[in-house]
């Protein structure tokens, strides 16, 4: 690293030297006392001759600083260079006005000896021409490590290197200093070298890396005579968000060169401006494949649903059908479902794209309105047998996301052919979940086919069939399932799960046989299934098994006997508390807590005093439920146990016992225990106990160094039901850790007081982490379920958020989740003077699908804002609100806005029109 040598002098307005520092004395050999008081042109006689005097005076005139570049001027003061050469040094000189308050009183001039740097840069520039790309890369690394003497230095030329690794190194080095010099270099590169692919790709990479705004510099180039340059400029503008870029690109849609227009359309797609919808739709309707294709893609990105009806005719275009279906997947609503399904009947229809579109629209309806079944029904009712067959025929060739969509859509249809197709797909790993969901939807009709699948060789198919049979819950499947019970481990767990869901007593004895299974998952699944069946012979079967020579059987029997609390099993259960096997003993100790018997307490106390850590853990867990004197005292002993897990479970049990006298001990644990998980359990217990003392104990720990402890304390604060914890929680909302901020959001919802609304509102609007902001928005909807004042404030906060561009969609989504009693609080905002608020409210009411919401939507049909009226029509038509045919007919005929008239006409068609009209009348 070369040390920098910089000298400074100052002058008055007559250029008489007023100060001359030591560095300058060392560089020039002129002592300060010899320089001070002399005019600059006397010290440097050739200033005038070299044309420098005018440059030096410029800052006195204009205030603008001047830079004397070494490449042009070499030096200001002739002197020996730092490297000792007798040549005059190369200097970088910066001349700035010296100001005193509002007045220019002279000049400050810095003179930097850059001789060594210039020479070094020259050497490295030479290395950039080396034949070996490794040497060139090394030179770039060294150039990047030093500040260039002027502009970008030799690096700018390296972006055109033939070797991609050299270009990449140059690009990354340049990107570290996104400044004016780089902008100029980029624009020059685009203007002069856009045919050089190396330069072009480097320039585009630099733009991406630096995020610089070149719009103003580039817009003019869209009128250049060279179509290649216009094309590249369009590409770059597609990365420059802002109205100037959009306006320029919209203007360029008329470019005489079709390739330029293609790239302009692509660029508009990237920027997705609403203003592009109309011209792009017109281009798509032109059926020119070359331009319509990117136009459809761009329309999909812009996602304006109003354009969907214009795209439907393009479904029949052999070349554009697939792309049109993709666009409809993004923009379409229920109105496009039937046309999409009908397109399946056409030979050569883009089946996969149509299926993807249908699945996407259904997902969207389910997410927004909980109305996925509406789309499913439309598909089911409009699919012809030949269309269904086309879907089935595509299945063997589909994979990935397309296959998943296909399985989903097939699941909405009915008929033997579809049933066969879905059962064939059961073993396909990538659609495992979707296939099961699809066949379950068919219900008992699928049982025979699924039972057949149990005989398949493929284990994945058998397992999927087992799960599906369990979900369907038909008893006819039980014999076949039982016949498979001696299969592999995975299948045994799944079968036990299925039998639990079916709950048929036939499975009782075969499941009993699994109680001694080697693998814990099998035993547990069997226990779950047996508990679910609840057979009348259970107690009689379990009692002898408590004495089984097999420890796994004894352990399973203990779990069942303890779960049901069979009186006839009590003695056996107590004996197992002294079982020779630790696992059996621990299980018995844990379960006896549920029995109301005087023998329980001595057993637990004895275990606490003498047994292993695992059994002591079981004992303290049982003590949470023992309603006998001494239980709390025993747990207080447990929190002093040497084993951290005994302390952990003791704290949890103390929380369950809700004895306020234990707050100090839990506070002590929270403060001083060595094991973090014990501190977590103590915080959780304090939250369960609640009250002022617990709140006081918890508050300091909401900012604990350990994240788990802090989050536990935060959640506990939300649970204590104490007014004062609000401030402590508010402070944690400033935490840098998003997990802690999310915990506070949960806690504030549980705390549920009115100040929580303002805090969540602020977090939703300003949190740096979008995920946290979203959680805060959803939390406001949860607060809408609280008391009147809180609910009112929460709804108001969400409405307020709904008109913020960055948070509107999330807020509207959250408003669509508010509970029914809060809907009137939302509906009142339809009286707002602000049309943006009324539009947001209409959108939220649309998502609520509730009679109260529909009532408000009827009012919205007369709103003065066309968008609100349109949203109201769509929502009411979707839910099939009665008695509106006449109103829709009037609106279709008389509404002032064409968009409303069009929407009303569509709604009327969907309504079944004339019949409805008559009944209306």
């Amino acid at each position: 690293m070369t040390s920098r040598q910089v000298g400074i002098l100052t002058t008055d307005t007559d250029l008489v030297v007023t100060s001359w520092d030591d560095a300058l004395s060392a560089m020039t050999g002129i002592a300060a006392e010899d320089a001070r008081g002399r005019p600059l042109d006397a010290l440097i006689p050739d200033l005038e001759e070299r044309g420098l005097l005018a440059l030096i005076r410029e800052p006195l005139r204009s205030g603008a600083p001047q830079v004397l570049a070494p490449a042009l001027h070499r030096h200001l003061i002739p002197c020996r260079s730092s490297s000792g050469d007798v040549d005059r040094m190369q200097q970088r000189v910066v001349i700035g006005a010296l100001r005193d308050d509002q007045r220019t009183v002279g000049l400050a001039i810095t003179i930097e000896d850059v001789t060594a740097r210039v020479e070094r840069e020259r050497e490295l520039a030479k290395a950039l021409s080396d034949a070996d790309p490794v040497a060139r890369r090394r030179a770039i690394d060294q150039l990047a490590a030093a500040e260039p003497v002027e502009g970008l230095g030799p690096l700018a030329g390296a972006i055109a290197d033939d070797d991609w690794q050299v270009r990449r190194a140059a690009v990354h080095s340049l990107a570290r200093h996104p400044d004016l010099a780089l902008v100029e270099a980029l624009v020059s590169a685009l203007r002069d070298s856009h045919r050089n692919f190396s330069v072009l790709s480097s320039a585009l990479q630099l733009l991406t890396l630096t995020g610089m705004d070149l719009t103003a510099s580039l817009v003019g180039l869209l009128n250049d005579h060279d179509p290649d340059l216009r094309l590249q400029v369009a590409l770059v503008l597609g990365q420059q968000p802002g109205p100037e870029a959009v306006d320029a690109l919209l203007g360029a849609l008329d470019d005489p060169d079709i390739n330029v227009r293609f790239h302009v359309i692509e660029a508009l797609g990237k920027l997705s401006p609403p203003a592009a919808v109309e011209p792009l739709a017109a281009i798509a309707e032109g059926h020119d494949f070359f331009l319509a294709f990117p136009a459809l893609d761009a329309l999909a990105r812009i996602s304006d649903p109003a354009v969907a009806p214009r795209l439907l005719p393009l479904l029949d275009d052999e070349m554009l059908g697939a792309q049109t279906a993709d666009a409809l997947a993004a923009v379409g609503d229920e109105d496009v479902v039937v046309p999409l399904v009908r397109a399946l009947d056409r030979e050569g229809a883009p089946v996969s794209n149509i299926v993807d579109a249908l699945a996407a629209i259904e997902r969207r309806y389910q997410a927004r309105f909980g109305a996925g079944d509406h789309v499913q029904r439309l598909v089911r009712e409009s699919t012809t047998p030949s269309a269904a067959q086309r879907l089935i025929d595509v299945a063997p060739r589909a994979s990935g996301a397309s296959l998943r969509s296909l399985v989903i859509v097939l699941g909405w249809l009915r008929g033997p052919a579809v049933e066969r197709a879905l059962t064939r797909l059961l073993g396909t790993a990538e659609t495992h979940h979707e296939s099961i969901e699809a066949v379950v939807r068919f219900g008992p009709a699928m049982v025979d086919r699924l039972v057949d699948q149990l005989r398949e060789n493929d284990p994945d198919t058998r397992r999927a069939a087992v799960v599906a049979l369990g979900r369907i819950g038909d008893r006819r499947a039980v014999p076949a399932l039982l016949a498979l019970l001696d299969g592999d481990l995975d299948l045994q767990v799944a079968i036990a799960g299925a039998l639990a869901h079916i709950g048929d007593p036939q499975a009782f004895r075969p499941l009993l046989a699994l109680l001694g299974a080697e693998h814990v998952a099998v035993r547990h699944a069997a226990i779950g299934a047996l508990n679910s069946i609840g057979h009348p012979d259970m107690a009689a079967e379990i009692e002898p098994r408590l004495e089984s020579p097999e420890r796994n059987v004894r352990e399973s029997a203990v779990k069942i006997a303890g779960y049901f609390g069979f009186g006839e099993c009590a003695d056996g259960l107590y004996r197992r508390c002294r079982d020779e096997d630790e696992t059996v003993r621990a299980t018995a100790l844990e379960y006896v807590g549920y029995l109301d018997d005087p023998r329980v307490m001595p057993l637990l106390l004895d275990a606490l005093a003498h047994d292993t850590p695992r059994c002591r853990c079981a004992a303290v867990q049982a003590l949470a439920y023992v309603d006998q004197p001494g239980a709390t005292a025993a747990l207080l002993g447990g929190v002093a146990d040497a084993d951290s897990w005994v302390r952990y479970f003791s704290a949890i049990s103390l929380g369950r016992r809700a004895d306020l006298s234990t707050v100090p001990m839990l506070h002590q644990l929270l403060t001083a225990d060595d094991a973090q998980h014990v501190r977590v359990a103590a915080a959780d217990a304090l939250g369960r106990l609640g009250g002022e003392a617990a709140a006081d104990a918890l508050e300091p720990f909401v900012a604990d160094a350990d994240t788990d402890v802090a989050i536990a304390a935060i959640h506990a604060c939300g649970a204590v039901d104490v007014e004062a914890v609000g401030d402590a929680l508010r402070h944690v909302l400033k935490s840098r850790d998003p997990r802690r901020r999310r915990a506070v959001i949960d806690a504030l919802v549980q705390w549920g007081r009115e100040p929580a609304v303002a805090r969540l509102r602020a977090t939703a609007s300003t949190d740096a982490d979008p995920a946290v902001a979203r959680v805060a928005t959803i939390a406001l909807a949860a607060l809408a379920a609280h008391g009147d004042d809180v609910a009112k404030a929460a709804v108001a906060a969400l409405v307020d958020l709904a008109i913020e561009p960055a948070h509107g969609a999330d807020a509207i989504g959250a408003l669509a989740r508010i509970p029914a009693p809060a809907i009137p609080l939302l509906g009142e905002f339809l009286e707002s003077r602000d049309p943006h608020i009324r539009r947001a409210v209409a959108a939220a009411l649309d998502g609520l699908s509730h009679p109260t919401a529909s009532a408000y939507m009827r009012v919205a049909l007369d709103d003065e804002d066309a968008v609100v009226r349109q949203k109201a029509i769509i929502a009411l038509a979707r839910v099939g609100a009665a008695g509106l045919a006449r109103k829709f007919a009037e609106m279709a005929r008389d509404d002032a806005a064409a968009s409303v008239r069009h929407t009303a006409s569509s709604a009327l068609r969907r309504y079944g029109s004339r019949d409805a009209e008559v009944s209306d009348a």
């Binding site: 979900r471 998952a521 547990h524 699944a525 779950g528």
Partner: protein, 280 residues
């Protein structure tokens, strides 16, 4: 819904933090669509330990200085993917043996080190050894084949070297007869083939100190591991490989895996029709 953890009666609370901890420590990531699978795999550990929730297991793994190491081994065993077989994606192994190995020999490598990780129950390193034997390379150069997996149980099975019929579904019969002998319903590799694998080790790919010694190898097979990692983890692991592997270094990943978004140090090259990431 698969009746896995559901059938075992464990509440799902605590599962997300457990998932995040496993991701942080091992790189294995279970997104929301696969979190059921995580629950199924680790639920038996929760029950066996006498716990009632995944949260208890989370605290055990995170805070218990005495038992956490053992519990992590159980978790890794439960999450390991034992489903593999001999001669799997063999074109890539053949390309490395027939094209890369000669190049390394030509460049003067005295010992050619190959690292197979994760090796599951040993099918991949033994396949590499068979390919080197079939092409005669063991007579012409010195090799070290190191094999590792994050699962202790998988490594124990690999060391034991006993394979069922299913593991041979892609191996030509002639090679099966040449390199394996039947032992009951199972098959064991002939001793000299087993001896070709220099080491079997438990290695966490997320631990730089664990992987460092193995990254001296110019050939690394890291196949079908990244599909279980999050993009962030892939970046971290590949960055370590990029930093530590020698030049030239050859990184082989599974056919369905792509590192193009994870690294700029390795370039994707097609070698005899197989894709290999190469550090030059």
């Amino acid at each position: 819904m698969t009746f896995g953890s559901d059938a075992l009666g464990l509440p799902a609370s605590g599962l997300p933090v457990l998932r995040d901890l496993i991701h942080e420590r091992t790189g294995l990531f279970f997104d929301d669509s696969r979190i059921d699978m995580l629950a199924e795999r680790v639920a038996p550990i929760v029950i066996q330990r006498g716990f009632r929730s995944f949260l208890d297991l989370y605290y055990l793994l995170k805070y218990d200085s005495r038992d956490a190491a053992h519990a992590w081994r159980l978790v890794m065993d439960a999450l390991s993917v034992p489903e593999t077989y001999f001669w799997r994606e063999v074109d890539q192994i053949r390309a490395v043996v027939c094209r890369v190995v000669p190049e390394l020999v030509r460049c003067g490598a005295n010992i050619i080190r190959i690292w197979s990780a994760p090796c599951a129950t040993g099918e991949e390193p033994l396949t590499i050894a068979m390919m080197l034997a079939e092409t005669g390379w063991f007579d012409r150069a010195s090799f070290e084949i190191h094999a590792s997996d994050a699962s202790q149980s998988a490594i124990a099975k690999a060391r034991a070297g006993r394979y069922r019929e299913r593991a041979f579904r892609a191996l030509p019969d002639s090679l099966k007869e040449k390199y394996f002998v039947a032992d009951g319903s199972e098959f064991v590799p002939v001793p000299w083939l087993s001896a070709r694998v220099t080491s079997w080790s438990v290695v966490n790919l997320m631990a730089p100190e664990d992987v460092a010694p193995y990254l001296q190898a110019p050939i690394v097979f890291c196949r079908n591991a990244f599909i279980y990692f999050s993009p962030r983890t892939v970046q971290t692991v590949v960055a370590t490989y990029a930093e530590r592997m020698p030049t030239p270094g050859y990184l082989c990943v599974g056919a369905s895996e792509s590192l193009l978004n994870a690294t700029t140090v390795f370039s994707l090259e097609q070698i005899d029709g197989a894709f290999v990431y190469v550090k030059r």
